[in-house]
């Protein structure tokens, strides 16, 4: 295995293009190292992106959104008060990944590229409408986060393409988001079910919403029907019931060592309602 330390994204792309065999990128490393140790994937080339200038920065974009560097770890995300104020659901999703120790390494980008359907940080990004900039051999492009995961462990990035930053839209006034996941313990588990809700209010009514579900399909789902169930409502019981029904209906989970089909379909409804309430309260200005 060769270890590379590019100083720019262009250099990283060149290294990747010239490399033969299996190539992996290191943003945080929490997945790559586990796979390496278990002998699941032993890359021929490991390209460490953490030394590229700016990859640990969180900056406000011109439109009032956020640009998050690819090597920003969970702890750094959580310490950024202004970002937390805007997108608490995105941050809490990231902060649920692993332990305190893992938070010192794991990144949004790594969690996204690993493309686990149970990735805790991805539903929040999708609900927020986040996009990523991608740099590759043929130039750069922007992609919506929901278009990155393809299936468990596989993403849609083309060979040699690298995510260069994560872009969050402006939160705007009267918006709120939340992410909840179900695990059997209080910490350290992979999500059995996850649900993120982001919404905007007009008065008491929800004017726009996005609902994303984790661990109930081969990839994290953006469920338009679930969002539609609450848009135009003040999140009354009827709306919540419709949201729950839509979330369950959209889920196509499997039974595995972490949960059953029936359990996941039940709990996705529970979490959808709970997350929606939190997002709604946050939008109304409740403490984040």
């Amino acid at each position: 295995m060769q270890y590379h330390k590019p100083q720019t994204f262009d250099e990283a792309v060149q290294i990747a293009a010239a490399a033969s065999g299996v190539t992996r990128f290191l943003a945080g490393g929490t997945d790559v190292l586990v796979q390496l140790r278990a002998g699941i994937v032993t890359p021929d080339h490991l390209i460490d992106l953490k030394l590229i200038p700016g990859v640990r920065d969180i900056t406000r974009t011109e439109d009032g959104g956020w640009r998050i560097g690819i090597a920003v770890c969970g702890i750094e995300l959580g310490r950024h008060a202004a970002l937390v104020a805007d997108w608490p659901g995105v941050v809490e999703g990231m902060q649920l990944v692993g332990s305190t120790q893992v938070q010192g390494r794991a990144t949004l980008t790594g969690n996204l590229c690993n493309s686990s359907p149970a990735a805790d940080s991805v539903p929040g990004l999708i609900a927020a409408g986040a996009r990523v900039t991608v740099i590759g051999p043929t130039g750069s492009r922007e992609i919506a986060v929901e278009d990155i995961p393809a299936s468990p462990g596989r993403n849609t990035l083309k060979p040699g393409e690298i995510i260069a930053a994560i872009l969050l839209p402006p939160r705007g006034a009267r918006g709120g988001d939340a992410y909840l996941r179900f695990i059997p313990r209080t910490e350290m588990d992979i999500a059995v079910v996850g649900c993120a809700v982001s919404l905007t209010l007009d008065g008491d009514r929800i004017s726009a919403a996005r609902v994303a579900l984790g661990a109930v399909a081969p990839k994290v789902l953006l469920v338009a029907e679930a969002a539609a169930a609450i848009v135009g409502t003040a999140l009354d019981d009827k709306a919540l019931a419709a949201l729950q029904a839509a979330a369950t209906a959209a889920s196509q989970p499997i039974t595995d060592r972490r949960g059953t089909i029936e359990f996941r379909k039940d709990v996705v409804a529970v979490l959808a309602a709970r997350a929606a309430r939190i997002a709604y309260d946050r939008a109304k200005g409740a403490s984040k």
Partner: protein, 159 residues
């Protein structure tokens, strides 16, 4: 598969070692530098026995490559005590019988110090959640949590 030369500062001392790119920082600390205080309980970041602080951030050294330590400052359990004086956490762990087999203890001490460095007055719940990535199978955590809280109090009073 050639090895890479790494220079770092471990517990305040400059060190040099040769790392295979596949070796974790934990492997390098234990096998190259003889610092066997950090333990491997899982190799997957799930048990925390290998906890170290790298450039001020608490990490599992099994989830860091040795080659990534280039130019970094690493603190391990071996660096916790001053010459002749234990860290209050170390004293309180002995006093409260917060260890039985002691295998998880180095990681828990390093993690607890990282907590108290940023939060000198944690609640019981904060201690428990901060240490959720440090598995202990002997104690049921009760005496560990008490020792951390007591050390925190003593350190606050000493300021």
């Amino acid at each position: 598969m050639s090895k890479i030369h790494v220079s770092a500062v471990v517990n305040g001392d400059p060190v040099d070692f040769l790392a295979d790119p596949r070796e974790s920082l934990l492997d390098c600390l234990r096998d190259q530098l003889g610092l066997t205080g950090s333990k491997e309980g899982c190799g997957t970041g799930d048990c925390g026995a290998c906890s170290v602080v790298m450039d001020g951030v608490l990490v599992c050294s099994c989830l860091v490559l040795g080659v990534e330590a280039e130019g970094k400052k690493v603190e391990t359990v071996e660096g916790l005590a001053d010459v002749g004086a234990l860290h209050p956490l170390q004293r309180k762990f002995i006093e409260h019988a917060a260890l039985q087999c002691g295998f998880c203890t180095p990681g828990i001490l390093v993690a607890s110090k990282a907590l108290l460095d940023q939060n000198p007055d944690p609640t019981e719940t904060e201690v428990r959640y901060w240490l959720a990535g440090n598995l202990c199978r002997c104690t049921g955590y009760d005496k560990i949590v008490r020792a951390v809280m007591d050390a925190a109090q003593e350190m606050r009073e000493a300021v």
